[in-house]
């Protein structure tokens, strides 16, 4: 797990410097966002996918089942209609003799009763074994016509009962014939043929309740429309596409029609006929509800994705910002520690050097002092004054060395934190002593406007001196060549003593002023650590004081410090 984590996030090194580059945080941010997005989006995506699939299956089933039931019912209506008519014709053929049926008046009477009992009959005719129309009851004059060569006559002779496809025939309008062959006891046979109006087919289809965009029709095995279709043509037109395999059981399938539209097609063969009932439903219409649901689903999914991304990005940004801040603080602390250690080492070194120098210096001092003592005891001699001057020069040099070593020791002592009663002016002057020579070399005038009656302050000598040293160093650095630094001290009020350092150097830009107290912010490039002012500010604040900077670019800077007469801590 740890391996996977480190592979994904890269090596989490302990050195905080490794985290310092912004690119590193960007990469980490991108990786976290990606991982969190994957973890949250994958389940959402799977859920949406499964939901989509299940919905589609359910919707398809919901569309297909009613279609199957509807076609089944209508098929039975057709079969019942045709079976009733066929039975009626068959009954008449059996009930009456050839002679009785040959009589036009009889046939007219029978036809009249038939029409009263059964709707849809157009005419009724008797045809002998040779195919001649013997008698006829109906609106046309068909007596004497011969049907021997027609296919339907051949088939009725062969099968006994026959229901034709819709055809125009002599009548020139679409009709279906129902023909029944009857053989008498004496072996004589004839055919009783009735014509049915296909309008009744239209009524059964209309009774299916298809709605405005539904389409149902009868179609023959060879693809000829037996009734009008709303979408695919008039009766006897050729259907423009192949029907899926059709049987007597209702079958629902999906296919493309002649216009290339995706359709559900339900079909079933009508018993004892050569045609099938077909119901067509356009998929876009059928799925309109599903499409609405799908858009809703998509909307919810996309909203979810966007929200997840926003949340993940936001949370990650906050996390990374905190990480960055924490790393920055850690880095700052490490640098400050390194800096303190460096100062401490320098302090120890200074103390060691001072000690090593002080001992031989003490010998020089004493030996030279003894020489002076001896010289003073001697009576005057020509070179006595000259000797005396040499001794004075040596003693003066010893004094100079003593002040240097004492200053070094004073610096070392700053490592020991100690609250003591201090004269702030003395500390200021002592600190100035470190920098006087540099100021002199660079023609910088140091003016002192120090309050004379400054009360003693209880604070840490080392830390206060570091504050003054940092500010004075910055003032010196701000002046390129020839300038003035003014040191002031005053009693601000009962609680605070004020100190200011004013220079007429290069001043600061607004950006520098805004960042000056941030650790590692420096304008000195390689020469500065960027810690001076942040440490200074930290010390002043810790001692319970305040530090303010007024600066104008190319005009100068004034740093004002207010220090409490009694410090909060050392």
């Amino acid at each position: 797990m740890r391996h996977v984590f480190s592979t994904f996030f890269g090596n989490t090194k302990s050195d905080p410097k490794d985290f310092a580059s912004p690119e590193c945080y960007d990469v980490l941010r991108r990786k976290i966002v990606l991982l969190m997005a994957l973890v949250t989006l994958l389940p959402l995506l799977s859920l949406a996918g499964i939901n989509y699939y299940e919905h589609q299956v359910a919707m398809t089933s919901e569309i297909q089942n009613p279609l199957r039931v509807l076609v089944g019912k209508a098929k039975h209506s057709f079969e019942l209609f045709l079976a009733e008519r066929t039975s009626a014709v068959s009954f008449i053929a059996s009930a009456y003799s050839f002679e009785e049926l040959s009589d036009d008046a009889n046939l007219q009477r029978i036809f009249h009763v038939m029409r009263r009992e059964f709707t849809g009959f157009v005419d009724l005719g008797l045809i002998d074994a040779n195919g001649n129309q013997i008698s006829y009851a109906g609106p046309y004059d068909l007596v004497g016509r011969n049907y021997a060569e027609q296919a339907w006559f051949q088939r009725v002779q062969f099968k006994g009962t026959y229901i034709s496809d819709v055809f125009l025939g002599f009548r020139k309008y679409p009709h279906v014939i129902v023909a029944v062959r009857h053989t008498a006891e004496n072996g004589e046979s004839w055919v009783l043929r009735a014509t049915l109006d296909t309008m009744h087919f239209d009524r059964i289809i209309a009774a299916m309740g298809l709605g405005a965009d539904g389409d149902a029709f009868l179609v023959s095995r060879d693809g000829v429309l037996q009734t009008d279709s709303r979408r695919y043509g008039k009766v006897l037109d050729k259907l423009g596409f192949e029907l899926p395999s059709t049987g007597f059981e209702t079958n629902v399938d999906s296919t493309l029609d002649s216009d290339g539209q995706s359709i559900f097609i339900a079909s079933a063969l009508i018993a004892d006929t050569d045609f099938a009932l077909v119901d067509v439903k356009l998929k876009p219409t059928a799925f309109s509800t599903w499409y609405t649901v799908r858009i809703d689903l998509l909307f919810i999914f996309l909203t979810g994705v966007i929200l997840i991304f926003l949340a993940v990005s936001r949370v990650t940004s906050v996390l990374i910002a905190r990480l960055q801040e924490s790393d920055r603080q850690r880095l700052g602390a490490i640098h400050q520690m390194e800096h303190s250690q460096k100062l401490s080492s320098i302090g120890r070194l200074a103390a060691g050097v001072a000690h090593e120098i002080n001992n031989p210096l003490a010998i020089i001092n004493e030996k030279t002092g003894l020489m002076r003592d001896i010289l003073n005891l001697q009576p005057d001699f020509p070179a006595k004054d000259k000797f005396s001057k040499q001794i004075d020069a040596v003693l003066h040099s010893v004094d100079r060395c003593r002040s240097i070593t004492h200053r070094m020791l004073s610096f070392a002592k700053r490592m020991d934190v100690k609250i003591e009663k201090l004269d702030l002016n003395a500390v200021l002057l002592e600190t100035l002593g470190f920098l006087e020579r540099e100021a002199q070399y660079r023609n910088i005038t140091l003016k002192k406007e120090l309050a004379e009656n400054l009360p003693l302050m209880a604070t840490d000598h080392g830390q206060i001196q570091q504050v003054f040293l940092n500010i004075l160093n910055n003032a010196l650095a701000a002046i390129a060549k020839e300038g003035t630094i003014v040191l002031r001290s005053w009693i601000e009020n009962d609680k605070f003593i004020g100190v200011s350092v004013e220079d007429n150097g290069c001043g600061m830009s607004e950006e520098t002023r805004n960042h000056i107290f941030e650790p590692f912010y420096t304008t000195k490039k390689e020469e500065g650590t960027g810690l001076g002012m942040s440490i200074t500010y930290g010390i002043v604040k810790r001692l319970g004081g305040d530090l303010k900077i007024h600066s104008k670019l190319n005009a100068g800077t004034t740093v004002t410090i207010l220090l409490p007469r009694t410090s909060l801590e050392g």
């Binding site: 060691g352 002080n358 001992n359 210096l361 003490a362 004493e366 003894l370 005891l377 004492h406």
Partner: protein, 129 residues
């Protein structure tokens, strides 16, 4: 000028320094014995208890502060002036706590040393009263 009734012991491992200092003090009527390490100092004290002892802190062998402690335990009346070349605040504070009279830094200002010797003697006389 003081008479020779002073009994001063100077202790430092820097022979040149301490012998020269003794010579200069003697020229000013302040005769002083010298010891060059802690052990010699303790022996010198045992032989002849000085009024005032000028004692360097940093010495090889027995350190100055240890010598101070031992002397203050056995001879509390001896006034001890500590000398240091290092100026560690801590040493100075410890020295004063162990009963040193004063704490001076090298290189010495002879006038300051003589002034301190007088103050130490005066302090000793006041203690005696």
């Amino acid at each position: 000028m003081e008479t020779s009734d002073w009994n001063i012991l100077l202790v430092d491992d820097e022979v040149e320094f301490i012998s020269t200092l003794a010579e200069r003090l003697e020229l000013r009527g302040l005769p002083a014995r010298v010891a060059y390490d802690g052990e010699a100092a303790l022996k010198a004290v045992a032989d002849n208890e000085p009024e005032i002892m000028v004692l360097d802190i940093m010495m090889p062998g027995i350190k100055g502060l240890e010598v101070l402690q031992r002397i203050k335990e056995e001879h509390p009346k001896i006034q001890v002036i500590l000398l240091t070349g290092q100026g560690k605040t801590r040493d100075g504070i410890d020295g004063m706590r162990f009963g040193a009279f004063a704490y001076l830094m090298k290189p010495l200002d002879l006038e300051e040393l003589i002034r301190t010797l007088h103050e130490a003697r005066q302090g000793r006389q006041e203690d005696r009263k």
